[in-house]
Amino acid sequence: MSIIKDIVVKIFLIAFAFVYIIPLLIIFTNSFMTPGEIARSYGDTHDFFDHELIGQISYVQYRLIPERISLNQYNTLLFRTPAYLDHFMNSIKLTLSVVAMHVVVGSLAAYGFTAWKSRFNEIIFCVCIIVMVLPFQATLVPNFIMADTLGILNTHASIILPLGFSPFAVFVMRQSMKGIPASIFEAAQIDGANHFKQFIHIALPMSKSGVAALIILTFADSWAMVEHPMVFLRDNALEPLSVVLYRLGQGDIGLIFAASVFYMLPMVWIFLYGQEYFEQGVKLSALR
């Protein structure tokens, strides 16, 4: 009886997972289609995003297997349009800067919140949490005013600095440092270790998986940034590829699948590489 139930549950879950992976499969296989086949599969490229129909309906038809394998999209993307690579480098620069700031600022502050004994500790942390959960649109004006005051509008710094100081990093790192038994810090104190040594030799090594979780979460979020560049950057050449992809989706969809796959690769790599640490880190932070 329970074997039958297990099989039913398994079939249900596998079917569900299959539905889940379809978008990814379609994006991947369609990246090897010719622009012509894409146009035929997804209707006329320019009417596609218009809500009015012109002439007869040509429905979207998903095709998992291309008629013939073509590297046409990749060729255009990587070799014939150097702008895409520039946008890709913008993405790398923005994302890596934010991630680096998160790891450094976040782990320092998390240790501070763990070690600092004060009745203001929780109040300040609560303020950080509030700033963390606010939607971007609520912090847009403050961010904008400060970028304007500092004269960094229309530079990458206007995106990196507010995002890099986002208290999200503090939250994730604090969750993971909370799990370190207080007795370990106390023992180190008796041995004469100061805060700096405790941070370097205890807090950081013991929250390695928290750092991994933070890196992956921050990477995923910054890699997908859309609102920040659209607000803070006037110069299109400075935009990350995430914004350019959006424009591709609105116009020249012939390239969108290859561009998506290309843009996904760093995410996929970091995800597969760090998945174990990530899960461990997430576990620790969930259980506190």
């Binding site: 809500h51 600022v105 949490i129 649109q137 004006v141 961010n143 995923a220 959006y246 995800f271 259980l287």
Partner: protein, 281 residues
Amino acid sequence: MLSRVTGKENAIAFSFLIPSLAGVALFYVIPFFMSLGYATTDSSGNFTGIENFANLFNSEAFRLASRNTFRFMVVAIPLSIAIPLVIACLLFNLKRMGRLKTIFMSPLVIPTASTAFFFQSLFTSNGFVSSLLGVNTDWLQTDHAFTIAVGLYIWKNLGFNLVLALAARANIPKEYYEWSAVEGMGKIRMFFKITIIYLVPGLFIMFVMSFINSFRIYRELYMLSGNYPHQSIYMLQHYMNNQFMWLNRQNLTTSAFVVTFVIAAFMVAFFIIDKKSHYGE
């Protein structure tokens, strides 16, 4: 002497917070209070007191956006927590199903624009869903838009919550179930008396992440239907973004202030409840 040393040590501990606090103050807190000037003046700088707030609460668009955002959160957040919990409980007892978890996380690696493109191709007037039904409906311009938005949100965030749910589930000692079985407790009662109760600690972080992500769904919604989507998915984020586009700083800061105030009140209440529940343990 000893207290002076600890006082100095404590000051050093505090210094670890300085980079973060300085950054948060500089880019968020201080300019937030600087921007309050806009909320209490008109566009030519005359002090108007609470008039902007009164106008905002009377604004049809702001009320619609607030209602929609609230409705979205009330529907989508509980679902995005409950569904992964159910899947986690199903997955947990099965062998060799660990890979499925990775598949459920796949939406996280797909670029936002590609996700939007895919959903567009599903629900546009000549999209996949229309072709199945043989109609010609742009589903994103009907009342179904709200359902699509909720579905998109759950689809995207299920994997992450599933990892959290599995972690929380793995943390329940097997003995609890064995003891209860000896005492003759049924499977269904076990689920309610053990599983649900012991999953609660993991809910805190699931809730925080789901809350943050419920605002971030704006990215996809914006890409799917621009500044003026169907009125069932016109969110506060749309409203505020449009105020920014129109350079209406008064409305934007006033609504930002209201949103911040509501979220702050909610988070403080949440913190107090969370703290109390921990003292109770």
